[in-house]
């Protein structure tokens, strides 16, 4: 069952590649317009050092940006959920901030912080922050009020009520937010690179496109996609380990 679930999408993907290869050859599409999968595979082989070096730069931006968003997002979410005053003060600002398009913000970051690592990390942090903060607030609010009352009758103070009930209640929602944020994180880092960079996969793609090295653009694209899928899978694995009771509940519902 588990392997079968993966087999079907992989088969569809492979069939798509075969059809792509055939279509390009039959139509004799020029290489610069749409390279066949075989040419992309060649690019993987010839440009592997280039892809690796630039991929690691992008990965670093993604990881740094995501981790800062995680820390800031959870801290903000906890603060908002604990205090009505902070909720009224901060929440509207956070929501309003989401209406500022990242496209407009990135050039500013370039002006302020230059071409280095920092502006990419900031863009990634900004796009990941919102889903994490909101899912933390929602998760903490989902705590059963009766459970909190029960803990009070057991003599638990606010600190123990938080760790025994609120924090674990928030985890499923937080992980949903993390999964959304992780897919955003790769987009954020690449976007930061497109605005102005001297290394990274976004930079590599831009350079390759300017030179009509279309196969390399695709190769970089596939590396990015693999990075996103890998990070998503990692988050799912961590979620399974952190919430063993949850996969159990889901399995029970399956049969």
């Amino acid at each position: 069952m588990k392997t079968g679930r993966w087999l079907i999408p992989i088969a569809i993907l492979l069939a798509g590649f075969v059809a792509w290869e055939i279509a390009v050859r039959v139509n004799q599409t020029p290489l610069w317009m749409l390279p066949p999968p075989s040419a992309i595979a060649d690019s993987f082989r010839d440009d592997r050092q280039l892809l690796l070096d630039n991929g690691l730069v992008t990965l670093l931006e993604v990881v740094l940006g995501f981790v800062s968003a995680l820390v800031l997002g959870i801290a903000t979410g906890v603060a908002i959920a604990q205090s009505r005053l902070l909720e009224r003060a901060i929440y509207p600002i956070i929501i309003a901030s989401q209406t500022i398009p990242m496209v407009a913000l990135a050039p500013l970051l370039l002006i302020w912080y230059g071409y280095g690592l920092l502006p990419k990390v900031i863009v990634t942090t900004l796009v990941c922050f919102f889903p994490i903060a909101v899912s933390t607030v929602d998760g903490l609010r989902s705590t059963d009020r009766e459970v909190l009352a029960l803990l009070r009758t057991y003599g638990a103070g606010p600190w123990r009520r938080f760790w025994l009930a609120q924090a674990p209640s928030a985890l499923p929602s937080l992980f949903s937010g993390i999964r959304v944020a992780i897919t955003f994180s790769v987009i954020g880092a690449v976007f930061g690179e497109l605005v102005g960079a001297s290394e990274g996969l976004g930079y590599l793609m831009q350079r390759a496109a300017a030179q009509f090295e279309t196969a390399r653009v695709f190769a970089a694209l596939f590396v990015l996609s693999a990075m996103g899928i890998g990070l998503f899978a990692l988050a799912t694995v961590i979620e399974r380990i952190a919430l063993p009771w949850r996969s159990h509940v889901l399995e029970d519902r399956d049969d």
């Binding site: 029960l150 638990a156 025994l164 509940v249």
Partner: protein
Amino acid sequence: MPECSTAALSMQGVSATYRDRNDLLLALDSVTLDVQAHEFVAMVGPSGSGKSTLLDIVSGLFGESAGRVDVDGEAIALEQRLGRSAYMRQRDLLLPWRSAAENAALALEARGVPKTKARATARQRFPEFGLAGFEDAWPSQLSGGMRQRVAFLRTILADRSLLLLDEPFGALDALNRVSMQTWLAGYWEAERHPVLLVTHDVDEAIFLADRVLVLSPRPGRIVHEERIDVPRPRRRAAMTSPSFLQHRSSLLTALGVIDETNVA
């Protein structure tokens, strides 16, 4: 029955009001009652008679508007009442991310007992509650009756002399409810903690309690008190005895479910 002069719980003239938009609703109207040490008191009343409010007041979750509440013979202010009694509600409130033993240990961990010690203590008591072998089960794997027994064990582990039970079996199906009542009667007869049970099941009240109080519809007032003379240990068969039926008809009359002319 009461051999000790200090009551486990004593309430004098306790009233409670709710704010419903701009109106003040009187939920309890000068309720006076006591629960002696080693006494099982049940309180029956129609829904909306303020039964749960009364337990919230005793446990320290809700403030009374008038009156006095003494626990173990001393008047205790609202804030200090938290942690003085063990409160069990209709919903089992088991945490889905904790195993059965970890859930039972919650009452200990809530007041700062170290995790490992709390869980070891909880596990030791599992056989006594008919839960041997289910220590590591998730709540989602337990039946309704078993979940309620874990919740009851958690309540006992809170280690307060006074137990407050708010319709503890209300969410169970009829068969499970009967077996849990029988089990609780046996458990209580061995331990004899002071208990204040709130229920709307008259049979449950008679079967379990030494004394039954009847609460009126809102605002709740105590309109009737009945000492139950069914001998202990209580058996299921006692439910068809003449004295049991006598208690039932006088309690139902007090509740206004049947009127006196029909009984006679």
